[in-house]
Amino acid sequence: MPLETKIYQKENNLKISKLLNTVVSDMLSSRFLATQLAVRDIKAQYRQSYLGILWMFITPLATAFVWVFLNSTGTVKLTDTGVPYPVYAFSGTLIWAIIKEAINMPMASTNSARSILTKINFPKEALIVSGVFKLLFNSSVKVLLLIIFIFAFGIGFHWSLLWLPLTILAAVVFGVTLGLFLTPIGMLYTDVGKFINFALGFFMYITPVVYAIPKEGIMKTIMVWNPFTPFILTTRDLALGLPPEHLTYYAVLLLCCVPLLGLGLVFYRVSIPIIVERMSA
């Protein structure tokens, strides 16, 4: 049996296709590590908490509640959404929370593995994959609550509900792709992480999360072009059984996401040694 040979030198292997190949093969070979890390974190998270899973709903529920309150008291005047407003607001904040978590995930995962990154050589892709597992676990719990809402508010079952897992996955892929490009620099400067959260807090108001796109005006243009919009709208429309709008933009973004995700993973892989060097220097 010939021994596997590793060569370390300063030049990076620049063929993207070759790099992508190693990324994929490392992802496959580190499935067990990724699952193990995800199970470890999920277990540890709930073993030390009484409220456990409840914490996942509290933020989106609270945001939704605030808007339901603002709307019902007439403090703000919102255009009619076509469905019971609480379901509209809750589904929006929930999908928004999933995207936000997805954007932050690669950086959070890498950061929490700091101590092993500087000491042990393991397939770094496992960090991302385990992060995706954790995201999907968290999201599926959230989606379950959303489905309960849908039935409780009398919208009931409809076939497009079956698309929901796929659209959630798409939202996760979109968020992770964005996050992957921000992670390397975010690992060097903590400013990046802080900026992301700041920017997302602001972005929520130009995305149809808790109110619909206005019929006209500058806000309409901004919202229509905002890349977050189709992910929120399409997911919500399918969940609530509304005819999905913005499908073309959604499809274009998804098509862009696939090569970008690959590129992001390659960028991440190439960046890790440079980051590890600065972490341990």
């Binding site: 049996m1 021994l3 596997e4 040979t5 590793k6 060569i7 370390y8 030198q9 300063k10 030049e11 990076n12 620049l14 067990f32 590590l33 193990q36 890390l37 470890r40 974190d41 277990k43 540890a44 073993r47 030390q48 101590s115 092993i116 990154l117 500087t118 000491k119 042990i120 050589n121 393991f122 390397p184 620099i185 060097l188 400067y189 960028f267 190439v270 960046s271 040694p273 440079i274 980051i275 590890v276 060097e277 600065r278 341990s280 220097a281």
Partner: protein, 408 residues
């Protein structure tokens, strides 16, 4: 896996390092900024020769060596010599700035034990976590689970959360998992310095077992360990190779003389006695041959309330283990404090083998019949010296005695 390797390849080169260099930055802000630049140029391959940028230095410079199966290379050098950086490059954690490393086979690293442990989870669950990080599959871990628990000797506590383990227990569990690796190349960084003696012996035995089938790179500050395990040694100083030889004792010797003299002097006691003058210079390297006479003369100022006093000297090794004592009271000797200024001379024949030693001076106040009533002065590292025996570093045992050994 090792069984399937044909005997022909017993002596194949597993690790080949050619002209390896790595630079580091001294300043954090600058370092982070260079990191951003490297990220961008890294995307373009960055094939240019790398020069030092401002505030950078070579942490590893032009290091080359080869290592075959069955060999063990000891890396020695003082703090900041570049040993850990070199290990990180060999382990593939960071990329070199020049040169090339070629490694054949599975690489195992004993750099951190218990990586991936989560403190909340039980020891058993953490075996899976740690094993996964080290590259085992679930099946492999399940098969080896009993062996791992047995090796760690933690049967009783294996279902307890790891946060309640003592640090020694965590290390045991970590090593027990790592000991299951079957690497071709093993990188060890001073992990063996922890744990109790019997467990440390167990670790050595495991490494010794592995030694025949793998190539080991071993970093340690403990010269006895290096002398015991290694077949060749490299001494690094500020990133450069200063010695590289199969003659371990000669490399250790160079390391031994490479150390800078740092004073560890520390004075405590009642303050009634002070050291006024010494007839030797403790700030420079004092090299003393084994068997020659050590002569230490010094002036002591002692408060006039003290009538009688006595002198004690204790010689410690580098790890601060007491080796020898010189005690005037053992022969009932004590002195009168006539006018507060006393000139004392201690002389003895140096019985010590190769090594670094320090002598601590203690001055007691005694009564008329030589019983200790007060400790006036304790002066740590009052005299620091290197002892050299004519035959070089042949033994890491500090003292040898001539004995009559008869053969009938």
């Amino acid at each position: 896996m090792s069984n399937t390797i044909p005997s022909k390849s017993e002596n194949e080169v597993l690790v080949k390092v050619e002209g390896l260099s790595k630079k580091f930055c001294k300043d954090l802000k600058t370092s982070l900024w260079y990191g951003v630049k490297d990220l961008l140029t890294g995307m373009g391959g960055n094939k240019n020769d790398r020069e030092l940028r401002p505030k950078e230095f070579w942490a590893v410079k032009d290091v080359s060596f080869e290592l075959r199966r069955g060999e063990c290379l000891g890396l020695i050098g003082h703090n900041g010599a570049g040993k850990s950086t070199l290990l990180k490059i060999l382990n593939g954690l960071i990329n070199p700035d020049a040169g090339k490393v070629t490694i054949k086979g599975r690489v195992g690293a004993l750099i951190e034990l218990g990586a991936g442990f989560n403190p909340i989870l039980s020891g058993r669950e953490n075996i899976y976590n740690n094993g996964a990080v080290l590259g085992f599959s679930r099946k492999e871990i399940t098969e080896k689970l009993d062996d791992i628990i047995a090796f760690s000797e933690l049967e009783e506590f294996i279902d307890m959360p790891v946060q309640n383990y003592s640090s020694g227990m965590k290390v045991r569990l970590g090593f027990a998992v790592a000991a299951q690796m079957e690497p071709d190349v093993l990188i060890i960084d001073e992990v063996l310095a922890v744990g109790d003696v019997s467990f440390r012996m167990k670790c050595y035995n495991r490494i010794n077992e592995l030694l025949k089938e793998v190539a080991i790179i071993f970093v340690s500050h403990s010269m006895p360990q290096i002398a015991k395990l290694c077949t060749s040694a490299i001494m690094l100083r500020r990133g450069e190779v200063k010695a590289n030889s199969n003659d371990i004792s000669s490399v250790i010797n160079q390391y031994f003389f490479d150390s800078n003299v740092e004073s560890k002097e520390l004075v405590s006691g009642s303050g009634k006695a002070t050291l006024a003058k010494r007839n030797f210079d403790n700030s420079k390297l004092n090299v003393i041959e084994k068997g020659s006479t050590i002569n230490l003369g010094f002036d002591l100022k002692i408060d006039l309330t003290t009538k009688y006093f006595s002198v004690r000297g204790i010689i410690y090794d580098k790890e601060f283990k007491g080796l020898l004592e010189i005690n005037a009271l053992h022969s009932g000797q004590f002195f009168k404090n006539e006018n507060g200024l006393n000139n004392i001379n201690i002389s003895f024949i140096n019985p010590l083998n190769h090594g670094d030693f320090t002598m601590t001076l203690v001055i007691f106040q005694v009564n008329e019949i030589g019983q200790i009533t007060e400790r006036l002065l304790r002066h740590e590292s009052f005299f620091q010296f290197k002892s050299i025996s004519g035959i070089g570093f042949d033994s890491y045992i500090p003292i040898s005695v001539e004995a009559n050994i008869n053969h009938k």
